[in-house]
């Protein structure tokens, strides 16, 4: 879930009437559950959160700093400050905030998760791994912690362990496209193509423009000899992003290999048309340029 919140970007808000009413409700009663900290802090926290979501990072930092001065044990405000510092690339400050939260409340898995992410960013795989494992001991349903551990195993090319953890991530929160994608990759690494296909398919159900999932589905088809279907998948990517270099490379490779295959079968005309297709997608492809000149 943390990944979903981080990735959310602004979009146009819905109906004006609803918006007005919702705003009124929020302003009127927003931090009701937070009354224990005193009204002023709540208003400041809400204002800071609003700034943060709107991308006004400096303003958000100022407000959250005010909030933690008034309420030094406000875990939410410290965590938000941590995220804001990380966004501003003030990683030491971010570490300080998250570490402080963990000191005052060791079960704050949100802070632990961000500490893990910061370790990943510093390429400290072992400490990141330890931190995510710690989260699991606190919350055995924490999808994000499972996701990151699974991803670490994915990165270390240990697909079996990756499958083990990413399955847990999927079972804890099945609405994350990237969890399905990475699980698909792990299955794919184990040559379990049915499972890989299923997870890539689920990725696309959640996010139809997930080009990396489309790319991998293309490879499944291609390796199975279903070149037409593979090409169709990669062409879909081109319609989403005409400059997707991976899809372009894959298409060029597919067309070049099909051209050679046609040539060895004596189908020179087919070969020529495939090389033309290569050049249409990658105009400077040396192989297609050369062989087209030879056989045209």
């Amino acid at each position: 879930m943390i990944r979903r919140v981080v990735k959310k970007r602004s979009c146009v808000s819905r109906g004006l009437l609803w918006g007005i009413v919702a705003s009124a409700v929020i302003v009127a009663s927003v931090l009701m559950p937070y009354k224990s900290h005193g009204g002023n802090v709540d208003d400041i926290v809400f204002q800071a959160a609003d700034y943060h979501y709107k991308g006004k990072l400096n303003e958000a930092i100022i407000e959250f700093q005010k909030a933690v001065r008034m309420d030094p044990v406000n875990e939410y405000a410290h965590n938000q400050l941590g995220i804001l510092y990380a966004k501003k690339e003030r990683y030491d400050d971010a570490f300080r905030e998250f570490s402080y939260v963990v000191r005052i409340e060791e079960r704050n898995t949100f802070a632990l998760l961000w500490l893990g992410i910061l370790y990943l960013q510093q390429n400290d795989l072992d400490r990141a791994y330890e931190t995510f494992q710690k989260i699991i001991t606190i919350d055995r349903h924490n999808a994000d912690a499972y996701y990151f551990i699974g991803s670490i195993y994915n990165i270390r090319h240990n697909p079996l362990k990756a499958v083990e953890y990413l399955k847990k991530a999927r079972d804890a929160d099945s609405e994350e496209a990237d969890t399905h994608y990475r699980l698909g990759r792990a299955f794919h690494d184990l040559s379990m193509v049915n499972n890989a296909f299923l997870e890539y398919y689920r990725t696309l159900q959640l996010k139809p423009t997930h080009t990396r999932a489309l790319n991998e589905i293309g490879w499944i088809y291609y390796t199975q000899g279903n070149y037409k279907a593979a090409i169709a998948e990669w062409q879909k990517i081109i319609t989403i992003n005409a400059r997707d270099r991976e899809a372009i490379s894959n298409l060029a490779k597919a067309y070049n290999e099909l051209a050679f295959s046609a040539l060895t079968k004596g189908k020179k005309r087919d070969a020529v048309s495939y090389w033309r297709a290569t050049l249409a997608i990658m105009p400077k492809n040396k192989a297609a340029q050369y062989y087209l000149k030879q056989y045209r």
């Binding site: 879930m1 919140v5 981080v6 959310k8 970007r9 602004s10 979009c11 819905r14 609803w18 919702a22 409700v25 929020i26 009663s29 559950p33 926290v45 809400f46 959160a49 979501y53 875990e75 939410y76 990380a86 966004k87 501003k88 409340e105 704050n108 898995t109 949100f110 990943l120 960013q121 390429n123 791994y129 606190i138 919350d139 924490n142 990165i155 270390r156 090319h157 240990n158 079996l160 362990k161 083990e164 379990m192 193509v193 049915n194 499972n195 296909f197 299923l198 490879w219 291609y222 390796t223 270099r245 991976e246 490379s249 894959n250 060029a252 490779k253 070049n256 290999e257 040396k286 192989a287």
Partner: protein, 371 residues
């Protein structure tokens, strides 16, 4: 008569206007908005149970209202039903990512563990059944390694050059493309025979394969290691020996930069990664980590294979260098480039021309895997 008609008309008019103005809520029932407002008032009075009842009706009538879901979240939270509250807030945010309150509540609530609800299992689709069967079949054959060490189960061997691109050509006419293909095939056979590591080739004959196709092949086979085979050349005819390269942002020395620019030919590099300010892309963090770790692993593999060359080949070891090679940069796994002798050096060329020497090279690389 006139008065009666007037009264009749007046009566009808009154009926119509009343029906149009007031009756809808009686005849058609309350709107989603009405229920939501009622729910909001109930929250204010602290009657969360009733608020949930009313807000559920609002949701039924208008399942696209983030406002209603936000109120529902608050009501559940008031009742201490954390899981339901979280679900409602998440729904609100999905409907309207700008819903500050719901976003904030999700972040506050998920700071600590929340009890989960059991999900009901839906019947499996044909693809899900096939996947489940595959899952059951496969898992029993696999043993999981708990450690974080890098695992190599598949390797893609890339014989450099080919076809019209002969690579470097020796004094007596020996072509780099033929040497690399022969050694790659020998190594491939050994790996197949050995059986523990799956091996794939980027080309199996004398044809030209662009660099982009080679990296695509490595990605296609989901290789754990990519090895590009080359033999070196220099204007200095005395230069000889073997060296191993791996990818890095900057070349380890001038010579490494020269070799990389020769192997890269006229290729353009990728656009450097541009970080979006004020935004943390977690997938990008993982991607950068993967690339860094892969380059680190590449360095380790480079030292390992170069060590084997030093031990097993009668060639001077020129050590390990790093540079920005296109063919290494674009792969998604650790990758190294082996320069086996200098084809421009007469003695090295003579060695590379011999089958027995090529066999030794293949054996040395194989030993690198087995160690």
């Amino acid at each position: 008569m006139h008065r009666r008609s007037f009264l009749q008309l007046f009566g009808k008019g009154l009926l119509v206007s009343t029906a149009a103005g007031i009756v809808p809520s009686v005849v058609w029932g309350k709107s989603a908005f009405d229920y939501a407002l009622e729910g909001q008032n109930l929250i204010q009075t602290g009657d969360y149970r009733k608020a949930v009842e009313v807000l559920k009706k609002a949701v039924e009538l208008d399942p696209q209202s983030d406002w209603t879901y936000g109120l529902l979240g608050r009501s559940y939270r008031g009742l201490g039903k954390q899981t339901d509250a979280l679900q409602a807030f998440r729904k609100a945010v999905r409907l309207n990512p700008e819903d500050v309150y719901s976003r904030m509540m999700i972040e506050i609530m998920t700071q600590k563990p929340i009890p989960r609800k059991r999900k009901e299992k839906a019947p499996l689709t044909p693809l899900e059944s096939a996947a489940a069967q595959e899952d059951a079949r496969m898992v029993q054959f696999l043993g999981a390694d708990e450690g974080l060490s890098y695992q190599v189960k598949r390797v893609v061997l890339d014989p450099g050059h080919g076809g019209f691109d002969s690579g470097a050509v020796g004094y007596s006419g020996l072509k780099e493309k033929d040497v690399t293909l022969d050694i790659a095939k020998m190594l491939h056979k050994r790996l197949v025979y050995h059986g523990k590591i799956q091996s794939f080739l980027t080309r199996t004959d004398d044809y030209y394969v662009p660099l982009t196709d080679r990296t695509a092949t490595a990605n296609q086979y989901r290789a754990d290691l990519f090895i590009s085979l080359h033999s070196n050349a220099s204007k200095n005819r005395n230069a000889s020996g073997s060296e191993t390269y791996f990818c890095s942002e900057t070349a380890s020395n001038k010579e490494a930069a020269r070799v990389a620019s020769f192997e890269n030919a006229v290729l353009k590099y990728d656009e450097p990664y541009k970080k979006r300010k004020g935004y943390i892309d977690i997938e990008e963090v993982l991607f950068r980590l993967e690339q860094k770790l892969n380059w680190g692993e590449s360095g380790k593999f480079a030292h390992k294979f170069q060590g084997r060359f030093k031990q097993g080949l009668p060639l001077k070891s020129r050590g390990v260098n790093s540079a920005n090679f296109f063919v290494l940069r674009r792969t998604k796994m650790p990758s190294i480039l082996l320069e086996i002798g200098f084809i421009s050096n007469q003695r090295d060329e003579a060695r590379l021309g011999k089958k027995s020497f090529r066999e030794k090279v293949a054996d040395s690389i194989l030993q690198g895997f087995l160690s």
